[in-house]
Symmetry: C2
Subunit: 684 residues, 2 copies
Amino acid sequence: MQQIAKGIWKIVLGEPETFTPEHFRQFPVRTEAIEQIPVSRECRVSEEKIHWRKTKRGITVTLPMETQEDIYGFGLQLQGFNQAGRRRYIKVNSDPVANTGEGHAPVPFYISSAGYGLFVNTFRYTTFLMGTNSERGQSAGMTAENEAHKEFSEAAIYALKRAKEERKVIIDIPAAGGIELYLFAGDFMEIVQRYNLFSGGGCVPPMWGLGMWYRIYGGGDEKALKELAEQFRKEEIPMDVLGLEPGWHSHSYSCTYKWSNLFPHPQEMIDDMTAQGYKLNLWEHVYVYPKAPFYEKLVPYSGDYEVWNGLVPDFATKEACQLFEDYHRDTFVKQGIAGFKLDECDNSDYNPSNWAFPDSTEFPSGMDGEQMHMTIGTLYQNLIYRIYQQENRRTYSQVRSSGALAASLPFVLYSDLYDHKQFIRGVVNAGFSGLLWCPEVRDCANGDDLLRRLQTVVFSGHALINSWRIPSPPWKQTDIEKNLAGEPMDTAEYYTAECRKLFELRMRLLPYLYSAFVEYSHSGKPPIRALVLDYPEDREARMVDDEYLFGESMLVCPLTYEDGTSRSVYLPEGSWYDFFTGERTEGGRRVEVHAEYDKIPVFVKEGAIIPLAKPVTHVEKDTVFDITVKTFGEADGSFVLYEDDFETFAYEEGQNRIVIEKHPGEDVTIHSENGTMTKYRLVR
Amino acid sequence: MQQIAKGIWKIVLGEPETFTPEHFRQFPVRTEAIEQIPVSRECRVSEEKIHWRKTKRGITVTLPMETQEDIYGFGLQLQGFNQAGRRRYIKVNSDPVANTGEGHAPVPFYISSAGYGLFVNTFRYTTFLMGTNSERGQSAGMTAENEAHKEFSEAAIYALKRAKEERKVIIDIPAAGGIELYLFAGDFMEIVQRYNLFSGGGCVPPMWGLGMWYRIYGGGDEKALKELAEQFRKEEIPMDVLGLEPGWHSHSYSCTYKWSNLFPHPQEMIDDMTAQGYKLNLWEHVYVYPKAPFYEKLVPYSGDYEVWNGLVPDFATKEACQLFEDYHRDTFVKQGIAGFKLDECDNSDYNPSNWAFPDSTEFPSGMDGEQMHMTIGTLYQNLIYRIYQQENRRTYSQVRSSGALAASLPFVLYSDLYDHKQFIRGVVNAGFSGLLWCPEVRDCANGDDLLRRLQTVVFSGHALINSWRIPSPPWKQTDIEKNLAGEPMDTAEYYTAECRKLFELRMRLLPYLYSAFVEYSHSGKPPIRALVLDYPEDREARMVDDEYLFGESMLVCPLTYEDGTSRSVYLPEGSWYDFFTGERTEGGRRVEVHAEYDKIPVFVKEGAIIPLAKPVTHVEKDTVFDITVKTFGEADGSFVLYEDDFETFAYEEGQNRIVIEKHPGEDVTIHSENGTMTKYRLVR
């Protein structure tokens, strides 16, 4: 057991494999920052309590588990929250139709109420059995107690199990001859902070990335883009980023990475959009069609099987990365493209046909298909990130698969799934494992469903409307057929106004959210996170998967359209204030909250300070935010606004801190540490 | 490549594992019977075309695959039929929610139109990629051809793939250091026959097993059983077997194997039922609760983790088998119990909690949990079978999981799933891999749904109504709440009469079906099977997964309630006769068939002879079937009725053959080879 940093230890069992998340680490461990994080909970797991054995199948590791132990994490889990008593199968899969643990971005990392977190440094499809089975013979001792329990009831038996049994964590890692484990100490939040700083610290998106996003109709051309862009500006719909499908999968579903004839003048188009203050994001995926310009050179650096008639690049080779980097830099990034949507880089087990490369695929690097499925999304992010880093421009992009140690990557996950409750759970869960998740709006049953989904979206890390199926925005027409036919709905004016209000709310929150990301970078604290991270001792908070903290002090409680106009909200101990009305509610209990379809319940912590910006329609190089400071309650409070150029990597060399403070009975004080303010202007 | 028997070869690659289906073989290869099966199709796969390599993950085997090659098999597949272009994951799983290949009884065996079948002798969770991916660089040569194909359409691309690409079979076997492959030659039917005879030949159920079955209400006691038994006899509802839940999971879900106080007089009850001509079948599962009489002795012969507070017996040890065998023989079989329903012996991956033992479980035999999941169902069947074999009584029983080389085991698979279309597909598919499947009736939307499901059931290998949720039969009341409340439906009389008719139809078919099973035993020909087995060159038949052959000459075309009262039926080349009316229809085409809810379309082959029995309510030791011979069409025809005691293993020493023959323009002739008839009586 080797100490890596304060509260972080590495344990090596057997002979670990070469290709692991650690092996491909792109960002250094933030040792100094980790030093600042306390260890305020006893770590109840130690090396001698961890057992392992090598089997023909791989490596099996066991750890003790307490009867009341709670477990969170495992990456982007859309269908489960508290994972105690559950089996998690950490396998990348684009169609997680059941609550198995699989998904776009499963991560072999969990946090436990027993004061530890565990990261298993592997790409193998690992199974975590979190207290599901007791050891042989253990039940014999329980027989007498069970006599009281004559009726068969699954719930009762489960409750009995939880109360009486000692449990175990069983970790089943196939194929490996050894494994590296990383143990993180602290309470829930400290463990997550340690893991994120161990990963390199959280990413800091450019300010424009936090604005509004819109992906245009898949069949749309240059003209459609131009018209839509003009419409948004004319109607004062805030919008920073427009996403396109360039049509480079017209021959097969694999990509040529060449503009189709829908976009005959790409440079002109990019320049025009840039002039209007838009950033452009291009859809693509990872499978390379024979007509791609770098196809021939890529052949020797790709896997031995194709997907959709396209090569599977081996991003574990420098050569494949270089081909992608050079082409993307020279053809898109230098031309002004601000980011990409990296699709299909996961796996597709529930599709019974050829939507993925075999696990047995051999790659020139020596990796196999199983390992590649678990990392191709991350390696793809890494190479796109490097291009922007070299150009000294930050990107904020999308990706459909991610994995371990990805906190520093400014890429947001999304899914073809669409259940709103699951999407909310995704927002709650992603923060446990250094991931960002977009509960994007696509189809809507009606205008109110649109509002409900947008409410979740504007309180997420990525405010995206994905209109790839409809030419007009959903606030003009939610019905797809009518939208395609160009018929607006009767209520278009009302919903346009309501959507504008929601987008303006998002724009108002930009400086607040940006600060949360800077904190993420410095301290590893997720900008958006489950309640249990801030209230680790609150038993009720340990079950809450439908509310989340947005930044340091806002508690967001979305409703789905199916919920109607009221929901139960859990407020932890203390006073809470309605973000919109300022009304106070005492916490430590559940309250029933009413919210019409145009309202989302948002509560603010006692003593909070929230800087609100006058909404801009988009963020420009010279944008200055007019800031109003809003305070909640009487308690002491403080907030730090971070100031930098909001778009280059210069922030890594230092930022200006504008400290806002409040003491009971006193006026708010604002102090800029470098004495000036260039990006903010205070409005009293 | 070692020849095992005519048209069967064994190929050993690397160093195979110890524990395999072959290792646990209970029945010898039927070499002489295999000798009788021709090889009428060129085997287009040979040893030199099979490539393999050992990797860190296990063994990968590849075989060539033709563009037009069709593939069937892989055990009980409820969601897929022709598996060309599909990925099949051969993993036991009780909740196959998606079409992945997983299920209660997946088998690593497939048959190909390229004149071969392949059995992979392993318990590892093997993935078969049946032509899903092309090799690196292959698409480059297709670019020119694809230029014609400008529009992206998934269907078009798939069609293009099938037409243009060379494909591969990729078999990915984890953990193993080597593998044994068995290659079977012939056309579809010959391959299946070879596989079944290699497995030991098909099972021959006792005649009573082919009669009607009914599982009583789960909360039912001795009195309820008695009343129901009397009701069936009084109302002349044919019924041979009654299934019970003895209540031995009252403490926990694991089993005590002791009668609960619902059944205070088991021997008296068994004797009473036996006197009325009923056979009793007892529900149980494999996890042993501490109060089971053989618990203490079993501890050292069980896996190192429990399931539902119960031990997992290691049936790969003689000791565990002996404990189960002795107890079951002495406590149930000798007392008169006719069979068991062996539940929960599969795996439960889609349930995120503790419904299964970990794959990493260690068993005293040296097997691991993965291997045990793939074989515990088969080993459980083996031991129950041995008890009845020793007692010289045949059983016909139920089991929820089975696997490779299981054709000789008289156990029928069932599922908690319930889609009627899938259940029909199960009937069609099970016969490819030596399995039997029960499309049991449980809940019904209404009386017509009941009839539709019963129609499939009476034309299956196991005619079971599973009323575990309702105290009265579904023909009295299909609504569960009202059934529980004791309220009959208004139409109870009508549906009782219709169900009686269906059950009598089943009883009429008993001698015919029994002969089909005897053929299964002799020649390996499945008694119930897909059309493609009898019509291997018929391209249309290769896609038909909703009709099946029942015995040698009946083509059954069930409708579901959702289908309404008509469906499309594919009739292969030749003349076909309506089983009920005798009306002739020319085949080689699809016909639209009308069938009211009380009718099921059944067609009979030209020249067929079908012996029909006067229906009995149940089969007794001294039952003699009154037989009427029904002929269809003008062509030459023959049928063999097999005569034995219908209940002991004496049939293995030889049976009397009663040969029924017909020539155009002549009367039917009947010839008993031993000169007498004891079990049949001809009615002219």
